[in-house]
Each structure stands twice: as C-alpha cells, then as structure tokens.
C-alpha cells in the first residue's frame, strides 16, 4: 500500500538529484570565493580566507568600470521600460481596434525571441543608421526586453481597475494628471515597482544582447566572461559573482513578495 501523498522513491531521488544539480554549482561559486588556492579549483579547498574580498576592493580597479556601467545601464533601461511599458499597457488596456492582439504580441516578442536574434538585429540596425556603439546602445538593447516585464505587470493590474473609476475621478473635478496621480498610480504602483525590479535584474546580468550592442565597453557579466577566459586572481571572479547574485536576487525576491498578494505575472527570465 502506498500513501496517497508520498511520492515514490525514484521520483524523490530524481527531485533531489535535480535540485542538487542546480544548486551545487552555485554553492561552489560561493565556496571558492573564500578559497586560499589561486590557480586551480581543487576540492576541497585547502583553506578559507577573506583575502579576495580585500583584493577585489583594493587591488582590482578594473572591476569598478564594468560594475558602474552595469548599474548605469540597468537603471536607465528600467526607467525607459517603466515609462514606455506603462504607457503601452495603458493604451492597450481599454482600446478596441483592429490588430490589437498583434500589437500586443509585438510588445511581448522581444522576451520570447532568442537574445541572439535581438542582438544581431539591433547591431545591424545601429550599423545601418551609423549610430556609434555607446552606453546608450546597450541601454536601448536592454530596454527592448525590460519593457515587456513592466508591460505585463502593468497590464495585469490595469485589468483589475474599473474603467468607471477614472470617469468618477474626472467627474469629481480631477483632470488627467491629477487622476493619474491620485487614482491610477496608487493602484498600479506596486505592480510597476515589481516590474521595474524584474527589469533591473534582467538587465544587470544580461550577456547576449550586450555582446552585440556594447562596442568596446564591458558590462560586469562580460568582464566576468573575459576573466574566466584569461584568469588573474581567479577567486576574485567568484567574489564578483557573489555581488551579482546579491544585486539581482534581492530585487527579484522583493518583486515576488510585492506581487504575491495580487495575481503573479511578470516575464520569467530571459
């Protein structure tokens, strides 16, 4: 007799195996940030030290440029996505017109398309228009998929808003901006915050689109990729990986708790 709720042994083993497969590499990344051995990853680490944190902070000025660029790009892309994504969601919320579904699909497409396609397409577009690569081309590349998460979150929230509420606000004397500030924004605010945090996290660790739109600049993920190819103080890369985990994981966690009370939407990872 098998209990109704218990899973079979093979299933349990498979589940545990899957979880280990996913998380052991993560744990190793964290572990080797503390290893005393610089050249190779021998297991177990011969000793533990905080030296690499010190090294990352004092001896490696090459980290700061990419970190600063990544933060800049993520913040700018998120801001652009917040404005455009909210506007797009507001426009498509109550409008009924021919081709509405297609336009809605076009908004979501950048996150469904492989990043390499987006990357190549943007690169050729920048070439054709003779736009030199800069921070802004990276920002534009990231904004294409950041808009989607904001759009999805905002649209889901808009759908729960009663249309007559906006009319009621106008009826009570509020003009458009006042209605937005006092009636719409308070009700979609948490959805925008959640969408914005997801967008930030997506942008911060993006590699593929960045590779195609960055020119000579390196964002933090690209810097890490280069470090893996030509290692110098190998554990410092792991320290930076820890920073990346902290910077992306915390906003996603916050976004999860913010939307949990309502319906949960948002683009899953790119």
């Amino acid at each position: 007799m098998r209990s109704e709720r218990g899973a079979t042994l093979p299933l349990k083993a498979a589940a545990i195996g899957g979880l280990l497969f996913l998380h052991i590499p993560l744990a190793l990344i964290i572990l080797y940030a503390f290893t005393t051995e610089e050249k190779s990853f021998q297991f177990p680490p011969p000793g533990l030290t905080l030296r690499w944190f010190q090294a990352a902070w004092f001896d490696r000025p090459d980290i700061w440029g990419p970190l600063w660029l990544s933060l800049q790009v993520a913040v700018l892309a998120t801001l652009i996505a917040l404005v455009l994504g909210t506007l797009a969601a507001a426009a498509l919320w109550r409008a009924r017109f021919f081709g509405k579904d297609s336009i809605s699909l076009l908004f979501i497409l950048p996150i469904a398309l492989p990043g390499i396609i987006t990357g190549i397409a943007l690169r050729s577009a920048f070439d054709i228009m003779s736009i030199p690569f800069s921070t802004w081309t990276i920002v534009l590349g990231h904004a294409t998929f950041c808009i989607v998460v904001v759009y999805n979150n905002a649209l889901a929230r808009f759908r729960r808003l009663s249309g007559s509420m906006i009319e009621a606000s106008m009826d009570l004397g509020a003009n458009g901006p006042q209605t937005f500030r006092h009636v719409i924004l308070p009700q979609i605010g948490s959805a925008l915050l959640a969408g914005g945090m997801l967008a930030f996290a997506l942008s911060f660790d993006e590699v593929i689109v960045t590779t195609f739109t960055a020119g000579q600049q390196a964002t933090l993920p690209i810097w890490m990729l280069n470090e893996l190819i030509r290692p110098r103080q190998r554990p410092v890369t792991n320290v930076v990986a820890l920073i990346v985990i902290a910077v992306t994981f915390l906003p996603i966690l916050a976004a999860y708790y913010l939307t949990r009370e309502g319906e949960h939407t948002g683009g899953s990872g790119k």
Partner: protein, 336 residues
C-alpha cells in the same frame, strides 16, 4: 430663468449606430427627472452627455444656461453616481467622499468636516475610516451618493444607482433619495429601466426608445395617456386594442390603450350606465397575485387582460364573464 439642463436637437452617433438621435428636452431646476427606457435606448448616453463623458455628434447642450459641449467632465458642475459606484478602493470612505474637495484645494480640516456632514446625510457617520471593500452594496451606494453630493453639484446624475440592490433595500433607498432631493433642492437626473422606480420617484419622466424620446411628462400623464403602443407596453402593462375593436366599444378608430385595472367584471344582466361599454368573453386564465387577480379573457378572438381587486367573487377558468369599462379609460394613441 434657464433650464437646469437643455438639449437642443442633440445626436450622438457611434459609427452607424445612432445612440442618441435628435433629442430635445428641458429639465427644470429642482426637478427629479427620470430617463426611462429599455437597455440600448439611449438614456445612459444622454446622461453621459450631461456628465461630459460623451460629446454630442451634433446639437447643443446647455447646463444652467452655459454651453456644455466641448467642456470636459472636470469643468462641469455636475456629479454622477455610477452604476457600479466606482469607489476608489485604495482610499478610506472618508477620503473617497473628500476627493472632490481635495482636488479643488479645500483645506484638510474643512474638507474632512464636510465629508463627515455628507456621510451623516446618508446615515453613514462612523464609517469614514473603513475601506469600500468592507461595506455592503447598500452602504457603498450611500458613499457614492455622499461623494457626489459633498461637491454641491448643480445637477446630480444617477445611473441606475439602485440596480444592484435587493428589493427591500431598493424601496428604502427610493424613499431616501426622494426625501434627499426634496431637502436639497438639487436637480436629479435619474436613469432607470425600471418603470415602477421611475413612476414612484420622478416629477417627470422621459421614455426613450431607439435613441429618441418617445414621450415625456408627469408619471401620471405618461401612465394614463400613453401616446404610443411602445409606451403603453413599456410603462406598466396595457391592452392595446385594434382600431376597429376600439371604435365598436366606446373609443375612436385608432389603436387604443386600456389599462387592465380600469376593467371590471359585471353580472351579465346588469344594465351598463351611459359611457360604459362591455363585452362578453371566456376566461382563459386566472392568475392570483395577492393584492389583485389578473384575468385573461378571450372575447371573440381579442385577448383582454383585466386586473381585479382581491376579494371579489372567485372566477374560474372557462367561465363566461362580461367585462366593462368606461369610455374615458380608452386612450387613443398616435402610433400602433
């Protein structure tokens, strides 16, 4: 003195659909005006034209003598009670009521005091800290009313405000709305598809069909003197008699309305006084309804419905009876 609301040949078309089609009407100051009609008849669009949510395709609208077309809702001294109440869920009841005053820039203590007064007026004092989600349907309705009235509008628009309430609450709110309107003297424009509600509450009723006003007048006028078959049928129920039948039984040669409650049953040997007409028929159905009994009588192929006061001699199906009515109660109508 200009009317509270005046429509001059107002039309509102949505593509090919004439939602409002050449409507002219005057609503007097202090009037309780009902717009009555089936759904899709244009009554709600008319209300939205007054509120400013719609702009007329053609024609002219005046509110207290001022041209209204082109003005957005927030520049009109008119407030609306919405069908779904449209309360702001992220604000307390007190903040909801004070919203209009806050937008106008009234200071916090003053607007809070006024909101409390408005809530007291709708018997919701003590609810100001609650959220709309914590209120019953009837209470939300009162909040919506207070939120509109606190702005002292020149015209209050009500879009089927009682539609979502159960019967008892509805009757109670009808009484309160009527009393409130009398007390405040504000012009109320009330949209409903419920003829009983329109007749019992309004000073004047406009009946809409297909984007046009087919008849307007006092409730008694509209009920007693329907001008068309549509009005006779829509406002209460009525026997619509064909021209020949009407001419033979006391009326003129026109489609004629005869209200069921104006018909009585007489004994076959009773001599009818002058001005009274009668017809023999077979009782096809008897429908006991408490306060009255509705009887359908088949008189030579014409079906006539009569509403008889309760407590009269029991009538059986299949029995032959004589129906009688006074010629005064036959109302000739313009249209079939």
């Amino acid at each position: 003195m200009p009317a509270a609301v005046s429509f001059q040949h107002v039309s509102r078309h949505f593509g090919q659909v004439k939602a409002v089609d050449d409507v002219s009407l005057d609503i007097a100051r202090g009037e309780f005006f009902a717009m009555l009609g089936p759904s899709g008849s244009g009554k709600t669009t008319c209300l939205r034209l007054i509120a400013g949510f719609e702009q007329p395709t053609s024609g002219h609208i005046e509110i207290f003598g001022e041209t209204a077309e082109g003005l957005p809702p927030y520049k009109r001294n008119v407030n609306t009670v919405f069908q779904d109440y449209a309360l702001f869920p992220h604000m307390t009841v007190g903040e909801n009521v004070a919203y209009g005053l806050m937008i106008k820039g009234v200071s916090r203590p003053e607007r809070e005091a006024k909101a409390l007064d408005a809530l007291a007026m709708v018997k919701l004092r003590g609810f100001e800290q609650r959220r709309p989600s914590q209120l019953s349907g009837g209470q939300r309705q009162r909040v919506a009313l207070a939120r509109a009235l606190v702005n002292q509008p020149k015209v209050l628009l009500l879009d089927e405000p009682l539609g979502a309430l159960d019967l008892k609450l509805r009757e109670q709110m009808q009484e309160e709305l009527k009393a409130l309107q009398k007390q405040l003297g504000i012009t109320f424009v009330f949209v409903t598809h419920d003829q009983g509600e329109a007749l019992s509450m309004a000073n004047r009723v406009a009946i809409f069909n297909d984007g046009r006003i087919v008849q307007a007048g006092s409730p008694a006028d509209v009920y007693e003197r329907p001008r068309s078959r549509f009005v006779a049928d829509f406002v209460g129920s009525s026997n619509v008699l064909p021209p020949d039948f009407a001419a033979a039984h006391g009326g003129t040669r026109a489609w004629t309305s005869l209200r069921p409650e104006k018909i009585r049953i007489v004994s076959p040997d009773e001599a009818l006084p002058s001005g009274q007409f009668g017809i023999m028929g077979r009782v096809a159905s008897v429908n006991y309804q408490g306060a009255m009994t509705r009887v359908a009588v088949d008189a030579n192929g014409t079906r006539i419905a009569a509403a008889l006061p309760a407590g009269l001699t029991a009538i059986q199906e299949g029995e032959t009876v004589t129906l009688a009515w006074s010629a005064d109660n036959l109302v000739a109508m313009d249209a079939a």
